[in-house]
Symmetry: C2
Subunit: 113 residues, 2 copies
């Protein structure tokens, strides 16, 4: 399922690494908000793509990719995104960690089948 | 389950973001090798921690954290790690992407319960 992979330009670019533990509450509300945030992010200037995985234990990692620090700051300041973050802190996540990083190089491999 | 989170120092440090699509083959062999690689990584100089999540669709993200570029290069050159990577390309992954990034800042949140 190649669609799970982000299509990204050649580095450098920026990554926001968001790891989180879902508390299991309000699955429908969480899923709807996550989808909405993804759609909203895609409309932001400088958004490059995102990849996401969450296991059955509720621990997940989402990495979103951005063209610049300024693009990350603008997305962080977006009012609807800020409201969703506040709701998430109060209702959806037991814990989360967020790390901002500059991607310096990238490589990959795909099987020929 | 706080144990899924890496305990990391204050930035800067480096992240290796590994996203992969498992092909579903050889689950037992893959799980044993993944566990062995984690144990081996933990013994490397400059290893700081790792976080990992994989969904039911087989798409996963593992982020390992390192003190320096040199530590990443040494781990990449480790013979047993190199052999496992080659085996993984041939047998376990439909596709993977690897990105090396410098973490510049980090913050988090934990619910008080």
């Amino acid at each position: 399922m190649d669609t799970a992979f982000a299509r990204l330009p050649t580095p450098p670019y920026y990554a926001v690494i968001f790891s989180s533990q879902r508390n299991g509450a309000d699955e429908a509300g969480y899923a709807a908000a996550a989808q909405r945030m993804l759609e909203l992010a895609e409309q932001q200037p400088g958004y490059l793509g995102a990849e996401s995985a969450r296991g059955a234990d509720g621990f997940g990692i989402t990495v979103s990719y951005w063209a610049s620090e300024e693009a990350i700051a603008a997305w962080r300041a977006h009012a609807e995104h800020a409201a969703a973050r506040a709701h998430g802190r109060a209702h959806w996540y037991g814990r989360y960690e967020l790390r901002v990083a500059k991607v310096e190089r990238a490589y990959g491999h795909a099987s020929r089948e």
